[in-house]
């Protein structure tokens, strides 16, 4: 019914394909390390927030909360390392990975932001602008996730620093408690942001699978292989 207005996937199912390199090895490693550590952080974090199962018997024969906290702190350390890699790669990566790709600043991309949003909301994938890297909505969504992770790291390390008032993290972040109105509020913000991460997961996974299924251009495999196979005759906004 809309074949006349559909210039893209409407295409013949044959033709030449080309390989487009998108994500460097540091970015791919960072993605999967962050994914695993976020899952570990969420699971152990929710346990630390409200210990939902318990041990019995002598305290000396168990270390459940201790292990949970240790895992949480290790995963937090890994996430911080991925952030360092990502920040380095904002300046060392290609144009799909650089800091310029964090927000849609180009007039064309701003226009496409609304086209993309419309295509998602009205379920009209054929009207969406075609991007090789991240589309404008994706750019903002991942940049938002970075901001979320930054807040989570600040509140998390402020809580972590409490164990010793002479510790590095205590001295570095002891302004955050008074700013948010006490450590319980810091804890509360940290807890609520955990849910924001958890809510992010199904949306992220769904959007990836959806793009892969609808566009048939190896979106999901690009975060493993580093690039996409696209039709040689297909035009992209950010080519």
């Amino acid at each position: 019914m809309s074949s006349a207005t559909a210039p893209v996937e409407h295409l013949p199912r044959t033709g030449n394909y080309r390989w487009v390199q998108l994500w460097g090895i540091p970015l791919r490693v960072m993605h999967w390390a962050a994914a695993i550590s976020i899952v570990v952080l969420a699971v152990t974090g929710l346990y630390i927030g409200k210990p939902y199962f318990m041990t019995s018997g002598e305290a000396s024969s168990h270390f459940l909360m201790g292990w949970m906290r240790l895992l949480h702190f290790i995963a937090a350390g890994i996430l911080v390392m991925t952030a360092i890699v990502r920040i380095y790669w904002l300046f060392a990566g290609n144009r799909y990975e650089r800091w310029t790709a964090l927000i849609p600043w180009h007039p064309r991309d701003i226009r496409n932001f609304f086209r993309q949003a419309r295509a998602y909301l009205l379920v009209r994938p054929e009207e969406a602008p075609r991007y090789l890297g991240h589309n404008p909505l994706q750019q903002l969504s991942y940049t938002g996730l970075y901001a979320l992770a930054l807040l989570q790291a600040i509140t998390g390390f402020a809580l972590y620093g409490q164990y010793d008032s002479t510790s590095f993290f205590f001295r570095l972040l002891n302004w955050i408690g008074p700013l948010l109105g006490g450590m319980p509020n810091v804890r509360f913000v940290h807890h609520v942001l955990t849910w924001a991460f958890i809510i992010y997961i199904p949306i992220h996974v769904y959007m990836s699978i959806r793009a892969d299924v609808l566009d048939r251009n190896s979106t999901i495999s690009s975060i493993v292989s580093g690039g996409r196979m696209v039709r040689a005759d297909e035009a992209f906004e950010d080519d």
């Binding site: 074949s3 030449n16 305290a59 168990h62 270390f63 379920v123 450590m183 319980p184 609520v192």
Partner: protein, 384 residues
């Protein structure tokens, strides 16, 4: 241990001589000094120095102002199961002016305050309990017709050091909780020109007050403090890290209600709102009433009373996280978070279904032909 009423401490007598007259043996005196050194984190080599300083000390002048408060701090400071030397020292040095303990009243008392401030100008130690109300020009607390702010400013001007005892003097405590109708503030908010040592807590432990004053008398200066003005010898570590129930925390053994088996076993009170992980205080070590017990030891979660604004920030006292405003007390952050996560999942499922329906109506799913043709059609013009 000592005779409480043998004779008053006269101005030209040293403390050593005075204690001797009241029947305190040298051994008892050195034990007291050793205990205080341990409390202050000083090595045993400091004991002779402290003993010497205290022994040769002439009667110091201390003015104790009681402002907007409940007298609980004074109760805490004077309450011991048996009179100790520390208690005696506190009794002795606070004689000049102390509402609760002094014999004088009315004009006599105010005259004593004025003459003591005049005679010892620049030398006396000022101890304050209670907050200072500033709203409506401070009319919520007047003593002898003068506002608390005027009295405090006048007394602080000639003081050698200022010690704010209790949460009220620290930051205002319950009367400074939202909405703070009297505009109550702490001593440190009024006295800006000299350091104020905050003995935090509602009420604080009397031993911390004694140790701070003795530190001042021995060293000639106040002890080192943290960002909140609290002496680090007492407030340098979290309750959580000194707690006798910490083993249960690490093992994953928690009280879920106050009458369960876990509560009887003395497990960790973390799940019933203990604020020990956010609270810096020496309670687990010093304990209360001559080391008899302390809140967590007695099975009650810490309410965080040594922290600024604890009435607002540490409530609800029996829950770990603050309430979410506008959702009612039963709605916790977890419930809302889980609802949103479920909503997001349902949302993407609905979107996926809509997409599938849309695609199915448009066309059958395409099939990629193989093999690839060697003569591809001309590429369509790029959009835009």
């Amino acid at each position: 241990m000592f005779s409480p009423n043998s004779h008053p401490w006269s101005a030209d007598e040293t403390l050593g001589r005075h204690l001797e007259k009241r029947g305190v043996s040298r051994r008892e005196f050195l034990e007291f000094c050793g205990g205080l050194c341990a409390m202050l984190g000083l090595g045993s080599s400091f004991v002779p120095r402290m003993a010497h300083a205290l022994q040769s000390m002439k009667r110091p002048s201390v003015i104790w102002l009681q402002l907007q408060e409940c007298t609980g701090c004074v109760e805490s400071v004077i309450r011991t199961s048996e009179p100790t030397i520390g208690n005696l020292v506190l009794d002795l040095i606070s004689l000049d002016y102390q509402h609760t303990l002094m014999a004088a009243a009315g004009h006599q008392a105010e005259a004593a305050l004025q003459s003591s401030m005049k005679e010892n100008a620049g030398k006396y130690l000022l101890v304050v309990t209670g907050s200072v109300p500033l709203a409506e020009n401070g009319i919520y607390l007047t003593i002898g017709g003068r506002t608390a702010k005027t009295i405090l400013e006048e007394a602080a001007a000639g003081a050698a050091g200022v010690v704010a005892v209790g949460a009220c003097a620290h930051w205002g405590s319950v009367q400074a909780a939202r909405p703070n109708p009297t505009g109550a503030v702490g001593v440190g908010d009024i006295v800006k020109d000299k350091p104020v040592v905050n003995i935090a807590g509602c009420p604080p432990i009397s031993d911390v007050v004694t140790a701070t004053i003795v530190h001042y008398l021995t060293m000639g200066r106040m002890p080192a403090t943290d960002a909140e003005g609290r002496p680090t010898f007492a407030y340098g570590a979290r309750i959580h890290d000194q707690c006798s129930r910490r083993a249960n925390f690490d093992a994953g053994q928690f009280v879920t209600s106050f009458d369960d088996e876990a509560a009887r076993n003395g497990w960790c009170l973390y799940r019933v709102g203990c604020k020990g992980p956010s609270t810096f205080s020496p309670c687990p070590i010093f304990q209360w009433n001559s080391g008899t017990s302390w809140p967590i030891g007695a099975g009650h979660p810490c309410i965080g009373c040594t922290e600024r604004q604890f009435w607002d920030t540490m409530t609800p006292f029996y829950d770990r996280l603050p309430d979410v405003a506008g959702f009612g007390v039963e709605r916790t952050a977890d419930l809302i978070g889980a609802a949103l996560a479920a909503g997001a999942t349902a949302g993407v499922a609905a979107h996926a279904a809509a997409t599938a329906i849309h695609q199915a109506r448009r066309r059958p799913l395409p099939v990629v032909d193989a093999p690839v043709r060697s003569d591809p059609p001309a590429p369509p013009a790029a959009k835009e």
